[in-house]
Amino acid sequence: MKKRNLNAIYTAPLPVEVVPLPPLVPHNPLSVAYYVYQLVFVPFLWGFKRRRRFTAYLELYTDSVSSYVSSIAVDSYEDMQGLWKAGFFGKGTQSRSDPTWELRTAKRLQEASGEVEGVAPEEVTARRRAARKKFKNARALAEQGIVGNDTAMEKVETCEEPRRQELARPEDSQLRDSEGKVRRLEKLQLTFQEAFFLAYALDIIDIYDDRTGDLVTVPYLLGLLMPDWSPDNSFIINYVAYHHYRSHGWCIRNGVKFGVDYLLYRRGPPFSHAEFGVIVVPLYSDESKNQLIRKDWSWSFGVNRVVGGVKKILVLCYVEVPDCIDKWHTVEELLKKYKVRELVLRRWIPSRNRD
C-alpha cells in the first residue's frame, strides 16, 4: 500500500487562506519592488476577491415546551472537504470522522472495475483488525506448541488484505443518480463550538436556518446556543476552552467517546493520535460552589483508566466564571471575562518510576 503524503493533502491548519510576503533582499531593487507590490497593492486587489466561504444549515427543534438547536451541518461536498482538510472540523454523518462515505460506497459498487482511488481510514482499521486476529490465532497455536514460533510470526508478516465479502445490497440501485454516479448523501456535522468558532472567530461560514432559509447572524446564533445567558452556561464554558486550545495551535475535537470533553491533536487525526483528553470544569469565585461540584477519587481514577488506556493524558481545564455577564458586551469582551487554568492528572505507578 502506498503511503499518502499527508503534508500535501492537509496543507493548512485553518480554513483561511494566507498570502505570505516574499523574501526581501534589500540590495536587489527588483526584490524590493516586488515586496512593495505585495505589501501595498495585493491587499487592494485582494479586496475584490471574496474569501472562500462555507455554508451550513442549522436545524431548530421546537415543541410546545422548548426550542433548541438540534444540529448544524454542512452538506456541500466541496465545503465538507474544505473544512475537514484545513483544521479537521466536523464529523461525517456516515463515517467515523473524515467524511469518506462516498469514497467507500463508490469503491464497494465499482470494486470489480477498480476505478476508485484512495483508502478510507475505516478500511485501514478493518485491515489491521484482520491482521491482529490472525496474529493472535498464530500465537495461541505457537504457545500450545503446535506450530513453531517463527512460522507463526511469518504468517503475520504475509497477511494479505481481507477479502471483501460485501455483496450487492437491494438498495444499491438507489445510491446512483441518473448519470450513474454515487449520490452524495453524507453531511458533515459540526459541534456548536466548532460552528461558532467558524462563524464568529474566523468568519468563514454562513449558517442558514434550515426551515426559513434566513441567514443566522453571530449574535442570533449566540442567543440560540446560550438562551439563558448565565455566566456558567455550558456552551460558553466549553467554547472558551475550545477557543483557547484552537488559538494556541491545537487541533481540538470532541472527545465524548473517551469520556472527556475534548481531545487535543498536535496537528490532526491523520498525523498522530490525540495526546491529551480535556475535561472542562467551571471555576466559581464562590468557593462553596466549587466544593459542591468536587468529584470523588473514584471518578478521577475511572476517567484516568479510560484515557490512559488509549495513551492519552487527562487535562482538567478550569474555566474561571465571571460573576455576571452583560448582554451588551461584544463577544470578544465576553470571552475576555473568562480565564483558563489547567492541571494534568496521570496515574502514577511506583514500581515503574523507581529505576
Partner: protein, 384 residues
C-alpha cells in the same frame, strides 16, 4: 468524535500486550516455585484470563497452579531468622514520640533515623513500626525492661504518624525500595522550604500590554477596511493575512494563567493537601545529611473522607513546590509532567493508588508556531 477503535487498534498487537502487562504489573501473581526446587523447568503460570485462550483450563495449567500454591505454603512454613549482627533494639519514649536506638547497626540507617548532637540516633514512629513489621527490631518501654509486642508498638506509635493512611503509604513505598522521609510540611502549616521568586518584572508586563493594544488596534483597522463591525466579531476578518502565525496570534484572546508572569507566593495549604513525604529513588550514594532534591513529593489522602482537591486547594499545594524541570525542559515534558508536580497517594480502605498532579499551561507552549510553519514550508515527501 472519531477514533475509539482506531486508537485501540493502532497499537501493534505485540506492543499492546506489553502495555497491558505493564499496567497490570502491580497485581501480577507471584510464582513461588522459584523458592523451591520444584518445577524448575516447567511452563510459566497461566495468565489470568483475559483473552479467549487464557487460561486454557487444561490439566497442566491446574498442576502448575497447584505446585505454585504448594511452594507458597512451604515457603511460609519455613522458620524466619535474623542475624543478630544487624538486629536493632530501641526504647520508645511516648512523650517524645520517638524511639532511641541503643545500637545502630545494619544498612537501614543509611536512610532511616536522625542523630542528635550527642550522636544518639532517634527513630520516628513510622520508622519504628516499619522495622518492627520487618522483624528487624525489638522495642522496649522507657524503663528498658519490657519487650513491646508488635501490637503494642502499633498502639504506641501509630497515633503519632498523622493518620493510618500516611503510615500505609510510607510502608508501601519503603517496601518498594524508595527512600522516604518526612517533608517539612508533615505536621506544620505550609512551611515548605521553597519560596518562589517573582518571575516577571513590570517592564515586561508593560511591553506585553503595549503589544496587545497595538495588535488589537491593527486588527480593528483591518476590520474597518473590510467593512465588518468588530462588535460581534470576527477576529480573523477579511483582508489579507500574511501567515497562520499572525492568525493564531490574533485568535489568542482568552486570558489564561501563565507560568511566565505569575507571581507565586506560598499560600497556606489545607489538610490533607500538603506534602507528607519526600521520596528518592533508591541510590547507593544517598546521604541522610545531604539528601538533595527529592525525586517525588507525596501527599496522602483518605478517599473515604476527602474528595479530589478543588483548584484552590491544588493551587495552594503547588505554591509550596519548586519547579520540576530546569530551564532545559522540552514543551513535551512541561505538558506531560507539568511545570510543577506532586504525587497524591489515595488510600481507600487500605488500598493505595497514586495519581500525579501536574501544573500546566497550554497557553505557554507555542504549538501554533509549529502548526503554522509545517504548512508554509515547501513539502517534502515523507521519509520512509
Amino acid at each position: 468524535m472519531d477514533d475509539l477503535d482506531k486508537d485501540y487498534d493502532n497499537v501493534p498487537a505485540t506492543q499492546g500486550r506489553g502495555e497491558q502487562e505493564d499496567a497490570e504489573s502491580d497485581d501480577e501473581q507471584q510464582d513461588w516455585r522459584m523458592l523451591t526446587a520444584m518445577g524448575s523447568n516447567r511452563r510459566s503460570l497461566p495468565k489470568r484470563g483475559e483473552k479467549e485462550y487464557e487460561p486454557t483450563g487444561s490439566s497442566s495449567d491446574r498442576n502448575n497452579l497447584d505446585e505454585s500454591r504448594q511452594a507458597m505454603y512451604i515457603a511460609l512454613n519455613g522458620e524466619r531468622r535474623h542475624t543478630s549482627k544487624v538486629h536493632i533494639s530501641g526504647i520508645w519514649y511516648p512523650h517524645l514520640r520517638k524511639a532511641k536506638v541503643l545500637v545502630a547497626r545494619g544498612p537501614h540507617f543509611r536512610s532511616i533515623g536522625k542523630a542528635d548532637s550527642n550522636g544518639v540516633i532517634w527513630l520516628l514512629p513510622e520508622e519504628v513500626i516499619y522495622l518492627m513489621e520487618r522483624g528487624s527490631m525489638s522495642l522496649y518501654n522507657a524503663h528498658g525492661d519490657t519487650n513491646i509486642s508488635l501490637q503494642g508498638c502499633y498502639a504506641a506509635c501509630l497515633g503519632s504518624c498523622q493518620g493510618h493512611e500516611r503510615y500505609l503509604v510510607y510502608a508501601h513505598l519503603k517496601r518498594l525500595g524508595f527512600i522516604v522521609q518526612r517533608a517539612a510540611s508533615f505536621d506544620g502549616y505550609g512551611e515548605e522550604e521553597t519560596v518562589q521568586k517573582p518571575t516577571s518584572n513590570r517592564a515586561r508586563k508593560l511591553w506585553n500590554f503595549l503589544v496587545q493594544k497595538f495588535a488589537s488596534f491593527c486588527i480593528g483597522l483591518r476590520c474597518v477596511f473590510s467593512k465588518k463591525i468588530p462588535s460581534f466579531g470576527p477576529i480573523v476578518c477579511g483582508g489579507v493575512w500574511r501567515s497562520y502565525d499572525s492568525i493564531y496570534r490574533a485568535l489568542q484572546i482568552i486570558p489564561f494563567y501563565s507560568h511566565r508572569d505569575s507571581i507565586v507566593t506560598p499560600k497556606s495549604t489545607t489538610v490533607p493537601f500538603r506534602v507528607a513525604y519526600n521520596i528518592w529513588k533508591p541510590r547507593p550514594s544517598f546521604k541522610k545529611s545531604n539528601p538533595g532534591e527529592p525525586d517525588f513529593r507525596v501527599v496522602v489522602v483518605n478517599a473515604q473522607k476527602d474528595r479530589m482537591p478543588t483548584l484552590a486547594q491544588a493551587d495552594a499545594l503547588f505554591s509550596t513546590l519548586p519547579t520540576a524541570h530546569g530551564s532545559t525542559s522540552t514543551s513535551q515534558q512541561r505538558l506531560r509532567d507539568g511545570y510543577k508536580n506532586v504525587i497524591i497517594g489515595v488510600v481507600d480502605c487500605g488500598i493505595i493508588s497514586f495519581v500525579k498532579y501536574g501544573d500546566v499551561s497550554f497557553g505557554d507552549e507555542r504549538i501554533f508556531e509549529r502548526a503554522a510553519n509545517n504548512t508554509t514550508k515547501k513539502y517534502r515527501p515523507m521519509k520512509k
